[in-house]
């Protein structure tokens, strides 16, 4: 079945076959598309090229239409967010017919990476102290301040995004980046603990991956956004699940005037979720 002579498993989009100072680097290969780290215009401008290759199993005309629609929709939402001051990557160029979107490269790592590493270090130090290492993170321990501050920044970013009429549709800790604080940019007064100083959870939250996002001011849609992130957080970082829900609620409330209504909806959405999981 395997064919070793196959020259390249993933053919590059045409645009990446033209000369550039560095070879494009495949960062992720998802169900819908691939993400390359490359450059835009100049060797000094790094860029994230998001490419949705043709799907051979779909009807070609339908496939082209769907790809075009998704690329444009993601670009529109990003441009709107950027204009409204929500921290997202800038859009450099769009070729909806060829199926790609060139975005500003966001330095740093996905939030998931930082949180996992932070939890791992915490477990190691608990074990070193002779404890089990799987204790729930309550936020009360002195070392927890960094994590609480990070959660506050996440909630703040979501509140700002919802305020401008965007719902994300796929919130996970992989779809937000932790960008090192930039020169000349202001840091938030709270949500910035300065904690133990290992810097693992330091940085600005930059929301990414708006492939399933859309314009909506529905409180139900917003609540579902929060719920999806809560569930994603619970499955990726179970020891910090309860803390996340608590911090999320309080910080979201501070960032967004309409939060009380959304949080009430969130309670209903959670209830439906529990019922569904009880029914199996």
């Amino acid at each position: 079945m395997t064919d070793d002579t196959e020259p390249q498993q993933f053919p590059l989009p045409a645009i990446l076959t033209y000369p550039s100072s560095k070879t494009p680097e495949l960062i992720t290969q998802g169900a819908e598309g691939r993400l390359y780290k490359t450059t835009y215009l100049l060797p000094s401008v790094p860029c994230a090229l998001k490419y949705r290759p043709p799907k051979p199993w779909r009807h070609p005309v339908l496939d082209a239409r769907l790809t075009r629609h998704r690329i444009l929709s993601e670009a529109r939402v990003l441009v709107k967010c950027r204009r409204e001051g929500v921290a997202v990557p800038a859009v450099y160029a769009v070729d909806e017919a060829a199926g790609w979107l060139a975005l500003e490269w966001v330095a740093g790592a996905p939030v998931r990476v930082g949180v996992n590493e932070w939890l791992r270090r915490r477990r190691d130090s608990e074990r070193a102290a002779g404890r089990g290492g799987d204790a729930v993170v309550t936020g009360d321990a002195p070392g927890d301040a960094d994590l609480v501050a990070l959660m506050r920044r996440i909630a703040g970013a979501l509140g700002r995004m919802h305020k401008v009429g965007i719902v994300h549709g796929d919130l996970t800790t992989s779809n937000m980046m932790l960008r090192p604080w930039g020169e000349g940019r202001e840091r938030p007064a709270n949500g910035h603990a300065g904690g133990q100083g290992d810097g693992l959870l330091e940085g600005e939250i930059v929301l990414i991956d708006f492939g399933l996002a859309g314009q909506s001011t529905s409180d139900e849609d917003r609540a579902v956004d929060l719920y999806v992130l809560e569930r994603a957080f619970a499955s990726t970082h179970p020891r910090a699940e309860a803390l996340f829900s608590t911090v999320l609620e309080s910080a979201y409330r501070e960032a967004f005037k309409q939060a009380p209504i959304v949080l009430k909806k969130l309670e209903e959405v959670r209830m439906r979720g529990r019922k569904r999981s009880m029914l199996g």
Binding site: P19, S21, Y40, L41, A75, R76, G85, D95, A97, E186
Partner: protein, 202 residues
């Protein structure tokens, strides 16, 4: 034996853009205080083939990256066989616009009889009978103005911010206006301009 390549002319800059095929070479120049804008504009209206340039009014431009972005997009569109205007140079001018309206784009971003400072772009597609030296000579002979480099410092001195805000719909961006760091602020504006251009009213 091949002749050693001549050093590029001091003020016609040849730029190698990332992800552009070798067949396309990009040449740019900037002129300050031009005295024959009306003549140059006439050559475009008269479709004089010797004046196949993108003549951009520098007051509608914020940065070097914005110009390069328009050039890159036009080359991409030309390679896709999807140009919406007569040639790659008119395509560059219309690529600066965040809307689909082509004649409006020419009016807003192209040279007008009263333009003061302009950016000139020439893309040579091989096989072409012209070289960078030919282009330079033609510009020297035909543009009456002071040559300047295509850099952010020069361009920012030509920018008409009220136009930029109007054209790219940037009047409601209070959060950018509130930024204290001047460098961060202009970078942010540039990003908003690039975002607007990337959507082209789509």
């Amino acid at each position: 034996m091949k002749e050693p390549e001549k050093a590029p002319p001091a003020w016609l800059e040849t730029i190698r853009l990332e992800h552009v095929p070798e067949t396309h070479s990009v040449h740019v120049a900037v002129f300050k205080d031009i005295e024959n804008a009306e003549f140059l504009h006439q050559q475009l209206l008269g479709r004089n083939a010797d004046f196949e340039y993108a003549f951009i009014d520098a007051s509608s431009v914020v940065s070097r990256l914005q110009v390069l972005s328009a050039i890159f997009k036009s080359i991409t569109v030309q390679l896709n066989g999807a140009m919406k205007t007569p040639n790659i140079h008119s395509e560059i001018v219309s690529s600066l616009s965040p809307t689909k309206n082509i004649s409006e784009a020419y009016r807003r971003y192209g040279i007008t009889p009263t333009s003061k400072n302009i950016i000139v772009v020439r893309v040579l597609i091989s096989p072409s009978t012209l070289t960078a030296e030919d282009v330079e000579k033609h510009l020297v002979d035909n543009v009456q103005g002071v040559s300047r480099p295509l850099d952010d410092k020069t361009l920012s001195g030509f920018t008409d911010w009220s136009k930029i805000r109007k054209y790219y719909k940037l009047n409601g961006v209070g959060w950018v206006d509130a930024l204290k760091d001047v460098g961060v602020k202009s970078k942010e504006m540039e990003m908003l301009v690039l975002g607007g251009m990337s959507l082209r009213g789509l």
